[in-house]
Subunit: 217 residues, 2 copies
Amino acid sequence: MTPSAATPAYRRLSVEERRSQLLEAALSLFAHRVPEDVSLDDVAEAAGVSRPLVYRYFPGGKQQLYEAALRSAAEELEHCFDEPREGPLVPRLSRALDRYLAFVDQHDAGFSALLQGGSVVETSRTTAIVDGVRRAAARHILSHLGVADPGPRLRMTVRMWITAVEAASLIWLDEDKQPPSDELRDWLVDQFVAVLSVTARRDPQTAALVDALAADD
Amino acid sequence: MTPSAATPAYRRLSVEERRSQLLEAALSLFAHRVPEDVSLDDVAEAAGVSRPLVYRYFPGGKQQLYEAALRSAAEELEHCFDEPREGPLVPRLSRALDRYLAFVDQHDAGFSALLQGGSVVETSRTTAIVDGVRRAAARHILSHLGVADPGPRLRMTVRMWITAVEAASLIWLDEDKQPPSDELRDWLVDQFVAVLSVTARRDPQTAALVDALAADD
């Protein structure tokens, strides 16, 4: 017996569709309130279903729902980094950042709560999901840079910049999304080029990369 | 009846001394193992006292001890930023970073566990302590920069760099403390100057600051 068969009063959805619908409702709630302030009742109401239905899909309760919503947000976030390996590098990075900032804009409070930590729904599993996104971002950037075997200095530079971008996103949400996202994007891209140039002074691999970037333009 | 009077077998210490001794023992354990793997028995053994004595000082158990140890580490960390307001700015920043990196080197596993989050002993209180250190670092830097009323772009630049430094410390611990700390320090200082210069292109306040820094040398 599938959950949707058990609830004939609702529009018939496949198990997968229903699950997606609940996750979507949860994500939109987590976007505007910290996880602590979202109850399963709220999720049921937002999705237009009964509380028992939510529990049937997420028997682990709010923690399970939160982790599933987080996983689905993480996948969405990783898609931001999908960018064809064509054309000059800097505009590619700008486009990926545009999508990333749109995601931050959309997910707002949930994004902050998640990255600021100390949330009651934070566990080693949620931390691992977030770390997975960070690692995916680093992989994408290094692959766009066309470096097959990045050395420690280049990897560290990329990871530091990703962290700085995260910090910028949180501050940006805190400061009522100022400066405008296209200005923030250009600023972050310029910072990336600047820190790469600093690393280039002490790392031949990064120096070659910076030369290639300059020739790119 | 003071705790030390109740335990005549131990060396007589004042309440404050005993507390410090226990915190020191706890910190040295947290430095080499993740908090999850440190028990109150371990702390008692390391301090050469009985388990009940540890509980007498920290009736809240490990969580309370951890928070107290964290607070004491946070104070120590904030002292790293104490730097006389004399001489050129870049060497001041270098000296503060030297002390910071020595702290990271010393506190090792505990430092990582704390900043990486998702720890079972992490709470909104521990997060607040860590955030307090970040804010103190930003205040110190802005005060050294001699900016009385920093605008949003300058503040954001400083906070992003502080986050990048944190990320660098964690990666550095992960990578067996490579590159050597003096090299890492110079690299971080150069990055700070580079990101300030990027911000200077879009912010007159930061531009004036970068000019002053250049005249400083």
